[in-house]
Symmetry: C3
Subunit: 146 residues, 3 copies
């Protein structure tokens, strides 16, 4: 039930790296929060030369910036584990130094989020939410990522 947007300089990642980063971001989110993997959406934006500045001067070298929109209502320790876990898998997947990685998390009330056409449940109520869904939608969801 998150969306992670990943920005990197154009050309920094080939398809295999994008796939690895997406897979590991999804896995970390699921492992840390307990949410099923089909809830995670990852979108890459490649940023052209001359469009990225750090400290007021043009970016030089590698950079990866991930910002996630996640459901609110989780304990602070879980969120710290999530933000650091994301940093680690993004660093590894991008094969850059740790200092090149930025990660932000924005929390939203579940009632502000529609995914797969359905308003999201509170954290921990996923099973009841899935059970109440039309069988066709549930089957579709459970097939994602398999």
């Amino acid at each position: 039930m998150p969306t992670y947007t990943v920005l990197a300089p154009a050309g920094q990642f080939d398809s295999a790296r994008k796939a690895e980063i997406a897979r590991n971001v999804t896995r970390v989110h699921s492992e840390v929060t307990g949410a099923q993997t089909f809830f995670a959406q990852v979108v890459f934006h490649e940023i052209g030369a001359g469009d990225w500045f750090m400290g007021g001067v043009p970016l030089a070298g590698d950079q990866v910036y991930v910002y996630g929109h996640i459901r609110g209502g989780r304990p602070k320790e879980m969120k710290a584990k999530l933000v650091l876990g994301l940093r680690d898998v993004v660093q590894a997947g991008a094969d850059v130094e740790k200092s090149k990685v930025w990660v932000y998390l924005v929390e939203l009330p579940p009632s502000h989020m529609v995914e797969y056409g359905h308003m999201l449940p509170e954290p921990g109520e996923e099973a009841a939410w899935l059970a109440a869904m039309p069988a066709e939608d549930r089957t579709m969801l459970e097939a994602i990522g398999r």
Copy 2:
């Protein structure tokens, strides 16, 4: 007084669909919240093949993801109506199944928002805000979308 960003796979929407979605997103926002239509900004991002992942695997098929930044301070029922109304017009405008639509709403304090060069008023104080504005700016605003 919102900005809605609409992501879809590159080529999924032609100009006519984008215009219809923008028009209906703007209309729903105005009808549900009571805010004038000139406050709504809608921006489309087309996402290239290989840049979008669901559940850790590449996106297959249609998808539309809308995230809005709106003024905070509105009742929960109004926001639920908004998020579901947005889902419905986006589904219709995009001509996709309901399960292909994601919508997120992020609330901001009005004092964190400048539109048309002016810091925004609290919900319900739009009329006084417009009345206090230089006549030239008010005329410009009221002409938008007419």
Copy 3:
């Protein structure tokens, strides 16, 4: 410790304007909040013709939309000064009328933010945070933007 994303119609800004806007956004953020300039990241997105709508109709003419993600915990007056200061430097740098400028600020808890590989400190605790960092990372940070 903010990220500012700047949207403008494709071709509205040349490289020199982008550099000037990035430099001044970074400077205003630092002057108003007291945070060091190396914390500011600015990313430009150029939006194609037909992808931007205002009040439900296609954008006509100039427009600049800046949305920032900043650390929470600052006083309201500081944030008002920041949002208006950003408006002013963006207007000047873009050379457009004030009515063409939109600015949004989203606040995040510092513990939801990793920059340069490190989870961010609360506002005002930057010096201790830097002092506790490996010397190599601190030197790298302090060299940015110099």
